[in-house]
Symmetry: C2
Subunit: 506 residues, 2 copies
């Protein structure tokens, strides 16, 4: 393509796009820049040109496009190519096609008026920020209990000994470690003495530290789930470990694979609520993984990121409770309270403690002692339990609302996974994920497809090699789906977000 | 020694210590475990045994020890060996020797009675914690402005937008970056736009990030000052850089050496107040280092850890002001406010910004947004300036008190370095550093000798190789000295700490 443009011949004309400038047809205001010749190159270029024209506003919302026949004639290309391009752009949400009114430029969704404070504004949308961010990762931070937190801070800072304002110890403030030991036993069935708890600045820091400890102990591999966050895989690799995926199915990660992987001695799992597929690890597999660990001297890193939030029953207790010698439990305040705190915690078997503190203590960062003291007081006073209880009801209500809305408006879309956490997986008709995600983007909805969380190795290849990429097999293992974080939006915006989502679902 | 014990012959006897058990002399209560034979092994073992006996309380304070003649006879060793050992332990402060009363076990210093709240207690001393910690690094944390901080937190958290409670950006909260740009220009002559400021979790994090950025850019070396903190050298080495020292003299680091070090493109300096020697970088050398940087494409990391505290004149402005393109300025709240906050900041040239944020953004930790917002409000409201002003007066008073006390009580000890910061270097008579530090330890004073801060390479060798170790040359370059942090103790304990220090000075 580029070559043909560079030839004198191409320069002498103005390309296919030139015709529309002078043409009198309905496509006259389209400045399309198409390569000469036909085939898929023309189709792709037409899609790109039309998309750009819509995005930049050259084609205003509601503008009626020429019929495919007329534009094809205008451009001197096949009618099918134009019809195909229109179809794709409709799927992506840039265009709409209605019986009787032809193809039009879609209207963009703007937030409901009058815009409530601190929801995205039309200006934000225009600036490229989404009207609704439905991506997983953050809780509803508008619900942060500012006043209760400030009260706890006042009590904590007033009571703190002077040395609390000095350089801290790598393990964290003793006040917080004490309170957490008690809370985790009560809420998550974790078996921990305060001395086993290490405070860290988020799950990723804990993972980085533990990865380095394992690498120093001679481990070279980390097994991970075949769906998860690429940032975590990067953290492991930066510590010098190689990663290998365990396929995730209805019953969670295929633990049996570990027996095939003779060199692997460490595995990171999300047993209570697999991220992001939403399944929970089957009891047989829970037993199998601790059996594997004690049999081989292995270590399980249990990422319990949203263990507090289960809606249909009592949460399953932490895996760590089964075998505290072979499981490191990792919890966080990022989902239950706020990511801004940068506070998380690990429960560490005695035999790892010295190595872990040595790594954390030399040049590694510590967490704000003031926030640690405040969180200790916040938990100890019961405010944390109250907050979690309130949020659990709120998230549960939203999930119910989601399920009901889908049943009514998008019966072809299935909610999979257990009733837990801050996000749900919406299974889509095969082959539609990409166009739904793109269509949502155009409608001002930032939402991720499940594909984005699929395991990739250092070179960007998929879990089972490039041949297993989407569309070439195993549809039940690699479904088309959206990961919809019903927990993220502020309460007043949730209904609007859900409404907007329903509009883009097939 | 271990070998000889393992032989049947050694087991048949009970070693030299056995004799004192059955002896009737004044050393009868000494359970000394000495090797057979004579020489330095016996002397060292005797010193160790006596020290342990004193430390563990087997020999109570004021216990009079046998004369060297009598103990020597008791143990069947040379009298000189015993006299030598006694002399060493007197120098270390475990024993006292007075005319007419022979050698006695020293009394330990305990804090003045009645013990004020939150100073070390007798129990703490007994548990091995020092009565006074005079080591450099921490400000007087008892002066943390709790109430002003809490007020700022209330204002900041109440006004914060919801998204402040979510995951933050690697560069830090915009509120804080804005306020810091203004403050640093005003207080330290730093030239910075808010967009150039990156918040980090302490100087060490900033150093780690910048070291990695330089390593990625192909640098292999970091030049450092020949006195400093080993933790910083470790941070650089962990990032893959090798370190090379520039000798520190009266006019600061010998910048001219950089021209000899063709491969070095990065240097870390403490220009305003060299840590810990206390000298400031001579104006000619300030000019020379920025000249070197712009000539060679080099980079200076300016560690301005205590730039707010100068007592004899206005602080010298930041080096960064001379050449913002080639100097990264690093400041911290750890000295001006409290280490517990884990908040520091970098001012980064535009050309490094993308690389730095890329490193910080992938899996690196962020600082508590709540503390960032509170610090922004704390500075913006003027509370930070007020606090620094108050602390400056307090530290200056203490330094004056120190200088006066030394002039009166220890005229042989000289305070070197500029009137600035939170610590002073007390130059001792040659050859006395080690025994003064050890003697201080026994008196319940934790204080570091200057030697502890001398540059060592990865293998623990000194700045100029093993041959340059203390005692073998260049006494004016490697003086015997104490690093006394007059800034660390709470106000009510400072006089006691100073008094205790004077008692152990020669």
């Amino acid at each position: 393509m580029e070559d043909s443009r560079a030839t004198p011949k191409a320069e002498s004309g103005k390309g296919a796009g030139a015709r529309t400038e002078s043409g009198a047809g309905p496509g006259a205001d389209l400045h399309l820049d198409l390569p000469r010749g036909g085939g898929t190159g023309v189709r792709a270029a037409l899609i790109r040109s039309l998309r750009d024209a819509v995005r930049t506003g050259r084609l205003a919302p509601d503008t009626r496009l020429p019929s495919s026949r007329s534009l094809a004639a205008d451009l001197g290309i096949a009618r099918n190519t134009v019809a195909d391009a229109y179809g794709e752009l409709v799927a992506e949400g840039w265009l709409t096609a209605r019986q009787g009114s032809g193809t039009q430029v879609a209207r963009r969704v703007v937030p409901p008026e009058p815009a409530p404070p601190r929801t995205p504004t039309a200006a934000a949308v225009a600036a490229g920020r989404p009207a609704y961010d439905l991506r997983a990762g953050s809780p509803d931070v508008s619900a942060f209990p500012r006043s209760a937190w400030l009260s706890a801070a006042r009590r904590a800072l007033t009571a703190a000994p002077s040395d609390a304002f000095g350089y801290g110890r790598p393990a964290g403030r003793p006040e917080l470690r004490r309170v957490l030991a008690d809370y985790l036993a009560r809420a998550r069935g974790v078996r921990a003495a305060p001395e086993q708890i290490v405070v860290c600045g988020g799950f990723a820091q804990g993972l980085a530290l533990l990865s380095r400890v394992r690498r120093q102990a001679g481990c070279r591999w980390m097994a991970v789930e075949s769906y998860g966050l690429d940032i975590h895989w990067k953290v492991m690799r930066r510590a010098g470990l190689r990663t290998v995926p365990l396929p995730v199915e209805r019953h969670g990660a295929r633990i049996g694979e570990l027996d095939r992987l003779a060199e692997v001695r460490t595995v990171t799992l999300t047993p209570a609520h697999q991220f992001p597929t939403g399944v929970s690890l089957h009891p047989d597999r829970r037993a199998a993984v601790v059996d594997w660990a004690s049999r081989t001297g292995g270590l399980v890193l249990e990422d319990d990121y949203d263990g507090e939030f289960r809606y249909d029953r009592q949460p399953v207790g932490a895996l760590q409770g089964l075998d505290p010698e072979h499981v490191v439990y990792l919890g966080t305040a990022s989902k239950s309270l706020a990511p801004a705190l940068r506070l998380a915690w690990m429960v560490v078997p005695d035999h790892l403690m010295d190595d872990l503190l040595a790594v954390k203590g030399t040049g590694e960062w510590q967490s704000s002692a003031l926030d640690q003291l405040t969180l200790a007081e916040f938990i100890d006073s019961g405010a944390y339990d109250r907050h979690v209880r309130g949020m659990r009801m709120r998230y549960r209500r939203r999930r119910d609302q989601l399920v009901a809305a889908l049943a009514e408006r998008a019966p072809g879309v299935r909610v999979t996974g257990i009733a837990a956490g801050l996000h749900a997986v919406l299974e889509l008709p095969p082959g539609t994920e990409r166009s739904v995600v793109q269509g949502a983007a155009w409608q001002g909805l930032a939402v991720d497809g499940l594909t984005r969380f699929r395991y990739q190795d250092e070179n960007g290849a998929g879990a089972n090699g490039a041949g297993a990429e989407r569309g070439t097999g195993q549809p039940q293992e690699q479904p088309d789906a959206l990961v919809f974080a019903y927990g993220t939006a502020p309460d007043h915006a949730f209904t609007g977000a859900l409404e907007a989502l329903c509009r883009v679902l097939p």
